[in-house]
Amino acid sequence: MRSLQATFYRNRWLFSRRIVQCLIIAAFAIELPAGGYFAQGNLSSSVWFGIGLTDPYIWLQSLFAGAPLGKAALIGVVIVAGFYLLLGGRIYCSWVCPINLVTDLSYWLRQKLNIKSNYTLSKNLRVAILVLSLLLSLLSGTLAWETINPITLFQRELMWGSVAGATVLASIFLFDIFVTRRGWCSHICPVGAFYSELGRVGRLRIKATQAGACHGCAECIKVCPEPHVLAPVVSKKAAYVTHGDCTRCGACLDQCSTGALAMSLSFKKPSAFKGIPVVSSD
């Protein structure tokens, strides 16, 4: 019983994340007894309890493709963009996006199977793909990324009964296992790149709490899907994770046994960092 509790505690962020992700999929997929769904549409644009939400990246592609702006979509974009701007963009990646379930499974298997081979890709690749998708939308007058976007593909093809999209998901899954560590989400997907840029100033942040609590074991860095974001905090050069790439997945918080890290919402103006007061143990 105690160990079960401990297991839950050590995976509290992971479990909450999985619950949220599954609830979001279920809201779109499971028909209510009274007919209809909790959420209509899909992750490119949806209606929740009468409130429309629209993905700002897809809207941006539409804008580049030369579309007139629908009023309903515009309100939805403002709500979604505002939320991620305020809290941090890549919350989408680890709490909402269904592909995260696939790539996390890939990563877990990769660890279990002890696959070390890794084809190194640049983190800038996804930014390049982001720019490319907007450029191609502009040139071709269609939503370039939406022709292959696995997020909406997942909802369209799998949830609505067809299996053509399963091949794409399978290739992402295998790519992440065998080719590149965290290949899709951290290196290729332009949606993540977009939200990373959008959420640069997001205020929900991983924070170093107590002075001297960190033993420097760097376990948090090992489990972080975007390890570079934690480096300044662990090396005690910053008190907050400020990098836009942080997905707020909480893996570091689950892992940290010392309570040196916390996630908190702070709207205070970030003052110039003066260094965490380190109480040396000797």
Binding site: Q40, N42, S44, T54, L69, L132, G141, L143, T147, Q155
Partner: protein, 226 residues
């Protein structure tokens, strides 16, 4: 004339050269990839003639840009006729369509699909479903249509939701006597596909086609190509 001193100066700065070389290489790669991507996007098959857009859809190029592939129209349709195109369907991926022969538009007077559209790809300006333009019915099978054979099948006329206006029987005389020919009034037909759905033949003799395919398009001069 080559300015020798500046050439020499550049060689003296190999770092600068490296940066430029890298820049040009990346620029080249970006150009090639962009052209390739554009070619891929442009070569994706255009919408097939049998694929019809929901009522109020903007003209195809604008629709392609404005539709964000969310499927709200699909869920709003009370008759479940709409689908989002998957990769194997003959329409741009993710865009909504219906096929008249399988399941025609029932022409709901409140147009729930268009009302659900968040972007205006299905125009909010369409308020009268009878003004919708999903295509136009054309009697293509003059050799197979039973009415042309002297029978009075006329099923297409009888099922039309705008009965007596969009399609009606017009008598023509030929060597077999007087034939009652289903005749479409293209200004009234909304292209809902009900006639195509109910045609008794194995392949429909009357079909809903995109307007320019079904009727042809006049040029600036009514008798010329241009």
């Amino acid at each position: 004339m080559v300015d020798k001193t500046s050439v020499a100066a550049e060689i003296a700065e190999p770092e600068r050269r490296k940066v430029f070389r890298k820049m040009f290489r990346q620029l080249g790669a970006a150009t090639v990839i962009t052209m390739f991507g554009k070619a891929v996007l442009d070569s994706s098959p255009a919408r097939a003639a049998s694929v019809l857009r929901p009522p109020g859809a903007l003209p195809e190029p604008e629709f392609n840009a404005a539709c964000i592939r969310c499927g709200l129209c699909v869920e709003a349709c009370p008759y479940d006729i709409l689908h989002l195109a998957s990769w194997s369907d003959p329409a741009p991926t993710g865009t909504p369509y219906f096929v008249g022969r399988t399941d025609p538009c029932r022409m709901c007077p409140d147009i729930p699909c268009a009302r659900a559209c968040p972007t205006g790809a299905l125009s909010p300006l369409l308020t009268d479903i009878k003004k919708a333009d999903m295509g136009v019915a054309v009697l293509v099978g003059h050799e197979t249509c039973l009415n042309y054979k002297g029978l009075t099948c006329s099923i297409c006329v009888r099922v039309c939701p705008i009965i007596g206006e969009a399609i009606s029987l017009k008598p023509i005389k030929n060597e077999r006597g007087v034939l009652q020919i289903p005749t479409v009034d293209s200004s009234k037909c909304t292209g809902c596909g009900t006639c195509e759905k109910h045609c008794v033949l194995s392949e429909a003799a009357i079909r809903v086609l995109p307007r320019e395919l079904g009727l042809g398009v006049e040029g600036a001069q009514s008798v010329g190509r241009w």
